[in-house]
């Protein structure tokens, strides 16, 4: 292959043959290098967690990725391609341009967490009713300690139950200043990050629509199971779902609803 190897001389066949394969090898190498380079780049720009979420997000079934405006019926069947991060979403910006009033009450994240301003400049972060129904009481050990940096859509903490493990996505950017066992509904008091924004969180009728949809999903699953408390009023489900649903179904359904796969 090389001119200094004894008795070798180049022929057109060699040129084509070696050329093609060197090209292929180079293409493979360049592509891999590109992937590595881009990954390093992502890290350097601090986009790693976000990209990890993006990668994860794209594995979710389309039904899990419904746009908030599809939930409310404003847009028909739109699937989010932004990883539920409406802060950069042009569609969302356009649709909510007029709505400027600061929200009151809970703002919901699609991973079934909520955020509520505590009034002293900090935010309270908690699990919503569905998550609580799915997981039961979260317990002391679950909440992250004070000082933990949270990033929206990045895993905030992990919940273990019945041998299964779910990570809970953080709804906001910020730093935990106080953690709580969740007995009062919240599990962390967060000091918001400087460029804090909450536009990606569901609010008002969006939240209602989304919540209704999630309850429907649960109910659909639940209805197929005998002995499940049936709910005609669309209210909150009764009982510990982990006891009622078949274990495999409970785990995968919970993971799906918590956007964990």
């Amino acid at each position: 292959m090389f001119p200094w190897v004894y008795g070798f001389s180049w022929t057109p066949g060699h040129v084509i043959f070696v050329g093609v394969f060197l090209t292929v090898a180079a293409a493979v190498a360049v592509t891999v290098f590109l992937a590595v380079f881009r990954s390093v780049q992502d890290f350097r720009r601090g986009k790693a967690r976000q990209i990890a979420w993006q990668s994860h997000f794209h594995d979710l079934p389309a039904s899990d990725r419904a746009c908030r405006h599809a939930l409310t019926g404003e847009l028909k069947g739109r699937v989010c391609d932004n990883g539920f991060d409406c802060r950069q979403c042009s569609v969302h910006a356009r649709l909510t341009a007029i709505e400027t009033a600061p929200p009151a009450g809970r703002l919901y994240h699609r991973g079934h967490t909520w955020v509520r301003p505590a009034g002293d400049g900090t935010l309270l972060v908690g699990l919503d009713e569905i998550a609580t129904k799915l997981l039961g009481s979260v317990g002391q050990a679950a909440a992250p300690p004070a000082g933990t940096v949270l990033e929206a859509n990045a895993p905030a903490f992990t919940v273990r139950k019945k041998g299964a493990e779910f990570r809970i996505l953080s709804p906001v950017d910020g730093v935990i200043v106080e953690s709580h066992d969740g007995s009062q509904g919240w599990f962390a008091r967060v000091k918001p990050a400087e460029n804090y924004s909450d536009v990606h969180l569901l609010r008002g009728h969006e939240a209602t629509a989304w919540f209704q949809r999630e309850v429907d999903r649960l109910q659909m699953a639940a209805c197929q199971v005998n002995g499940m408390p049936a709910l005609a009023d669309g209210g909150v489900l009764e009982g510990d779902l982990s006891e009622v649903l078949p274990p495999g179904v409970w785990e995968s359904l919970s993971a799906e609803m918590l956007l964990d796969s």
Binding site: M1, F2, V5, F8, T11, G13, H14, I16, F17, V18, F21, V24, A25, A27, V28, T31, V32, L34, A35, V36, R38, S39, D42, F43, A48, I51, A52, Q54, S55, H56, D59, P61, P155, G163, A164, E165, R167, A221, Q224, V225, N226, P246, G248, V249, E251, S252, L253, A255, E256, D260, S261
Partner: protein, 423 residues
């Protein structure tokens, strides 16, 4: 402790055998692997006389099986091509499994190859002193490159594991790699195309072996193209078969009926095309190529063990019939028919590889020579057994801990729901 760890690695929402059963299964195959590894050691450290190969059967069981597994492993590249390039979304259901199967087939073939050449330490000479005219050089280049590509394609599947994805930048790298996957799909297709062909060309160019020799296009004999066709015809069938087998062994439903149907339909169409081409090629060879080289067709089929029946079985029984069954929608809708046809298609390709390797070796060329038979030694069987065991192990671990069938979760939930309803 171990079982908790095991559980933490198993993908969410799927059901896997208890750890003890899995351990037994793994232990069984590790045993097979150990025997084969010993046989390989004998061949490598002591010499190839441990095989029953000889100066007549210079290629034994291994070349036949290498060719066969690589043909069946073609499902990997073809599925990738259909999914990433032709955008056949239905095949997303099996792409991961196909990649793992391809990786197993190719790496296994490489291992067997390393054992069955006389001087494996000199394997790199092919890169150092390549002979551009040799089909084997082309095969070596293509297979090593493609194995690399398969490894790269395997990385995202691996990194998506429930535990691994949590580590550092794994998901980031996976994400970036995935964005470039179409490049690998294209390169893989190119490489596979050439080396499947070159494996066919391997025997087709043997001008000294009129039974194998074929004329063709430019530097490629017709077997070059026939091998590609037969491999892409059998590949989807093999994926359907293995998926069904895994379903049976794991007692799970893994892919939807539509996915089976798509695989079968593609396999059937390609098989029909292949049978047509193969028939034309055979007619041309029997009437033109071979007689021109002093070998009238009857000379190939007058030896007791290898009558004309091989040709009939290969083309009609294991080619035309499964092809017809697979292109006819009502027929392939019946699962047993589909599976039988897929099995026949794979068997047909296997027989084709057998004929081209073992029968080519057996048939005498010198007019005063006679037919000789060959039976592999236990070492050859064991070495192959080790590769099968390696494949089963890699697949078993991949199946248990990685997401090979994205549809499985949904199907499992439906099934679990139904079961608990019945209870």
């Amino acid at each position: 402790m171990v079982s908790a760890l095991d559980r933490a690695w198993i993908p969410r929402g799927v059901v896997r055998a208890p750890l003890t059963r899995f351990g037994l299964w793994v232990g069984l195959w590790l045993g097979v692997f150990a025997v084969g590894a010993y046989a390989m050691y004998l061949c490598l450290a002591d010499g190839l006389f441990h095989t029953n190969m000889d100066n007549r059967y210079v290629f034994g069981l291994w070349i036949f099986l290498d060719l066969t597994v690589i043909a069946l492993g073609a499902g990997a590249f073809f599925t990738g091509f259909l999914l990433y390039v032709l955008r056949k979304k239905e095949l997303k259901a099996v792409i991961n499994s196909a990649v793992v199967l391809g990786l197993i087939c190719y790496s296994g073939a490489m291992v067997i190859l390393a054992v069955d050449v006389g001087q494996p330490l000199r394997a790199w000479f092919t890169y150092w002193y390549p002979n551009a005219h040799s089909m084997l050089a082309e095969v070596t280049f293509c297979i090593t490159c493609y194995l690399l590509v398969l490894c790269i394609e395997y990385v995202p599947i691996l990194l998506k594991n429930r535990r691994l994805r949590g580590i550092g930048g794994y998901l980031v790298f996976e994400h970036e790699l995935h964005k470039l996957m179409v490049v690998f799909a294209l390169i893989g297709t190119l490489l596979s195309f050439f080396h499947q062909g070159s494996l066919g060309g391997l025997f087709g160019v043997l001008r000294g072996r009129p039974f194998a020799f074929r004329e063709g296009f430019a530097i490629w004999p017709s077997t070059f193209f026939l091998f590609i066709l037969s491999a892409i015809a059998a590949g989807p069938s093999f994926i359907a078969l293995t998926t069904w087998l895994v379903e049976k062994i794991s007692r799970r439903r893994l892919i939807s009926a539509e996915a089976y149907d798509t695989l079968a339909r593609i396999s059937g169409k390609m098989l029909m095309l292949y049978v047509l081409m193969k028939s034309l090629d055979t007619l041309f060879w029997l009437n033109q190529t071979a007689p021109a080289r002093g070998f009238p067709a009857h000379r190939f089929y007058e030896f007791g063990n290898f009558g004309g029946w091989t040709l009939f079985i290969e083309i009609v029984i294991l080619g035309l019939l499964p092809g017809l069954a697979l292109i006819h929608a009502p027929l392939r809708a019946k699962r047993p028919v589909l599976l039988a046809a897929a099995l026949a298609a794979c068997a047909g390709v296997t027989l084709n590889r057998f004929v081209l390797t073992i029968q080519t070796m057996a048939l005498p060329t010198l007019p005063f020579d006679r037919l000789m038979s060959y039976w592999p030694s236990w070492q050859e069987f064991a070495a192959f057994g080790a590769v099968v065991a390696y494949g089963v192990l890699v697949y078993s671990f991949s199946f248990r801990y990685l997401t090979l069938f994205p549809q499985e979760r949904e199907l499992t939930r439906a099934e679990l729901m139904q079961r608990s309803q019945e209870a």
